[in-house]
């Protein structure tokens, strides 16, 4: 059996599909986040190495940080699809993703600051990870600012897509620069992943919460895409036939 994937690349067909998927993603999001947080708060050790209860912010912090980075990649992927195939829906997906990505970055920064206050005694520290996220936030904001500054939809889509691509090309270099400001010291950049040392219980809770955040992102992105579709296609006949507007 052949499924016609291109059918859903048309906003007209995607709109009702997204409408059906949104409740599903909301349910999954709430269930997974609740499960992940329950597991994290009640089924894991009270102390992680030298950190006490407050380390539990990790479940929100890590999940949002992962999503913030992942969503940037998703956004660029949509932007690229849009530039190559010139499909309207991909650009709409890219711009919807940007907002959720920005929200995730802000959550990651805020929880990072709270964690920093409890463990290092300071809200902000210019450590490479926090700094990288601050720059990620700037890049997201630049994308959104450019998009909203251009009135013509087609130009705004393409211009911001190109900016996202340029951002992606530069992000590794910026990351390197932030992590290794002194090339005399770190000839070999080697960041040890701390994941393997984490207790499996904590890891499971973290992964479940992340999955929940993921579902939340799906839900909000689809909701936003539906709004964008309505806004951009308001003059088409299929929108005027929608039962939402015909009561």
């Amino acid at each position: 059996m052949k499924i016609n994937w291109f059918k859903y690349s048309a906003p007209m067909n995607f709109y009702p599909l997204a409408g059906k998927l949104i409740p599903l993603f909301w349910i999954l999001a709430i269930a997974l986040i609740a499960l992940g947080l329950y597991w994290g708060f009640f089924k894991t050790a009270d102390v992680l190495s030298d950190q006490k209860q407050y380390y539990r912010i990790i479940y929100v912090h890590v999940a949002s940080a992962w999503m913030a980075m992942w969503l940037y990649a998703v956004m660029v992927a949509w932007a690229m699809v849009g530039l190559v195939f010139n499909t309207r829906l991909s650009f709409m997906m890219a711009s919807a993703t940007a907002i959720t990505g920005t929200v995730m970055t802000v959550i990651a920064l805020a929880t990072g600051a709270i964690w920093g206050k409890t463990s290092w005694g300071t809200w902000w520290d210019w450590d490479p990870k926090l700094t990288s996220f601050l720059i990620l936030l700037f890049v997201y904001i630049g994308y959104i600012a450019l998009q909203s500054a251009i009135d013509d939809v087609r130009r705004s889509d393409k211009a911001s897509a190109l900016l996202a691509l340029v951002g992606l090309a530069l992000v590794p270099i910026i990351y390197y620069a932030v992590n290794c400001p002194d090339p005399n010291e770190c000839a070999s950049l080697h960041q040890e992943s701390s994941l393997e040392r984490v207790e499996s219980n904590i890891l499971i809770a973290m992964l479940i919460t992340t999955l929940g955040f993921w579902m939340y992102s799906f839900a909000t992105i689809l909701m936003r895409v539906r709004t964008i579709i309505l806004e951009r296609e308001r003059n088409t006949s299929w929108v005027s036939k929608l039962k939402e507007f015909n009561n």
Binding site: F138, G142, L146, A149, A159, L162, G167, L170, I174, Y176
Partner: protein, 223 residues
């Protein structure tokens, strides 16, 4: 192709020569920003030496961002940019020529005036040399990265502020290694070679990729 490149380069320089005051505007902006920091922070010798590398680069970043506005907007407004995309010459070549002209007019003067910063901030002679070298390598990168953002924001209201928002985060690597090199040069026994190599690499990458990205951005903007 090379003759077309030279043609555009000469044209942009000729145009700038007819309006010389604009070159000096950027230059004086740079000098003014440089002289604000000692007044705002401290005129103490040691501290000035310490902040000089960061200050000179932040000032260079701001000056080159301000200058970006001039890169394409005049040609965009009078329709010349549109004509340029219709010439038989490929657009990235045109763009590269314009970038280089722009750097010669706004980047190179900063490099040449930078010894003045050395005097203001009591830098040793050795550091002044390093500062000129890294500015020479870094400012072209600023012009070329900035060109992409300048092309994307053509004709937009409040384009100048938007350009700064878009490019300043992208300038971070140049800032980090540019300033790092000057700081390192003030410490005995440390080599500045890695910094110089990294900045050179950035410049090469920028020369290769940014004309294409900028050309694509121009095509999007004039559509």
């Amino acid at each position: 192709m090379f003759s077309a490149f030279l043609l555009i380069l000469k044209r942009d320089l000729l145009l700038a020569m007819r309006r010389r005051s604009e070159i000096f505007t950027v230059l004086f902006f740079f000098i003014v920003v440089i002289s604000l920091f000692p007044l705002g922070i401290s005129t103490e010798d040691q501290l000035l030496k310490q902040i000089a590398p960061g200050v000179v680069w932040v000032a260079a970043l701001l000056a080159s961002t301000l200058a970006l506005d001039r890169l394409f907007s005049d040609d965009y407004e009078d329709g010349t940019l549109e004509q340029m995309t219709l010439t038989p010459v490929s657009l990235p070549i045109v763009v590269l020529a314009k970038m280089i002209a722009h750097w010669l007019l706004t980047g190179l003067p900063l490099v040449l005036i930078s010894p003045l910063v050395g005097l203001f901030y009591h830098l040793p002679f050795e550091s002044i040399k390093v500062m000129m070298l890294v500015l020479l390598l870094g400012t072209p990168v600023l012009s070329m990265l900035g060109a992409i953002a300048a092309a994307l924001t053509l004709g937009l209201r409040g384009g100048g502020v938007l350009v700064s928002l878009l490019v300043l985060p992208l300038y971070i690597p140049v800032l980090v290694y540019g300033a790092g090199a000057i700081s390192t040069s003030m410490v005995e026994g440390l080599s500045i070679q890695p910094y110089v190599l990294l900045l050179s690499a950035f410049m090469l990458l920028a020369i290769i990729f940014s004309p294409w990205a900028t050309a694509a951005a121009i095509k999007i903007s004039i559509e």
